[in-house]
């Protein structure tokens, strides 16, 4: 007999008949599993006005030996706003263009800030990350 497992439904649904979308958990289907969470600071170098500087990055080792699925959120110093990756606001940031990016390889999650604009002293950003056990791709 192989028809066994665990199903948990949302409130108000019968677990014997509920559609998959109305189930909180079903052991027949994979669930995202969180491996690591945390935050890092990113020191962004001074923009020299000549095409250099204005960049910074930080890495976190995940030790999974494959590329995992992840989510990252960026925050500026002294701000309570956490922006989804690639979404960092430039309306409030010094009137310059700024990009926040992240990627994984088989060893690290790398989080970076790139700017392009007015001269600006060095500053700090923060990145909050969630690294999942699940692979980004098979």
């Amino acid at each position: 007999m192989s028809d066994f497992g665990i199903k948990i439904t949302k409130p108000g649904y019968d677990t014997k008949t509920a559609a998959i979308k109305d189930q909180v958990f079903n052991s027949e289907y994979n669930s995202l599993k969180i491996w690591m969470t945390g935050n890092v600071s990113i020191s962004v170098s001074e923009w020299d006005g000549l095409g250099g500087g204005g960049v910074g990055s930080s890495s976190v080792a995940h030790n999974l030996a494959y590329e995992p699925f992840f989510l990252t959120y960026f925050k500026l110093s002294n701000s309570g706003k956490l922006w989804l990756q690639d979404s960092l606001d430039d309306d409030l940031l010094f009137n310059i263009f700024v990009a926040s990016n992240s990627y994984v390889d088989t060893t690290n999650l790398v989080m970076s800030i790139t700017t392009n604009g007015n001269a600006r002293a060095a500053w700090t950003a923060y990145c909050y990350y969630i690294i999942l056990i699940d692979k980004a791709y098979e």
């Binding site: 669930s31 599993k33 969470t37 706003k81 960092l88």
Partner: protein, 133 residues
């Protein structure tokens, strides 16, 4: 004794020996717990010159901390284009389409319209109990 819990492996894998990435579930690892999902539409004003039209959708979560979230939005070019959780963002104000952030009270979806006529954007969001900390 603290070595107890629940593990469920993917089909074809022995739960006693399967690697963690071959498990459907393990009580050893946290999961995303959905707090709130929703969807809607928002009209975004036309661009004026080199400035995009802009609208902000505010969704209250009242969790008193910054929660993890994912958003999807359409673009001004097609209501069928559902962007990935990651916002499209180019260099220059006319290249922004959507940006998302969360604070301890609300999720904000900021929509930009680079076309010189009003456009309707469609959005969907998922807010999780998981705290960004």
């Amino acid at each position: 004794m603290s070595d107890f819990g629940i593990k469920i492996s993917q089909p074809g894998y022995d739960v006693k020996t399967a690697a963690k990435e071959r498990l459907v579930f393990s009580s050893q690892y946290d999961t995303f717990k959905l707090f709130k999902s929703g969807s809607g539409s928002q009209a975004v004003p036309a661009s004026v010159g080199t400035t995009s039209g802009k609208a902000i959708v505010t969704i209250a979560h009242d969790l008193s901390y910054t929660p993890a979230f994912i958003c999807f939005t359409s673009t001004p070019y097609s209501a069928d284009d559902q962007m990935s959780p990651y916002a499209y963002k180019g260099v220059g104000s006319l290249h922004n389409i959507a940006k998302y952030y969360v604070d301890t009270s609300n999720l904000y979806i900021i929509l930009y319209n680079a076309i010189n006529s009003i456009k309707t954007f469609y959005y969907r969001y998922h807010i999780y109990y998981n705290e960004l900390a």
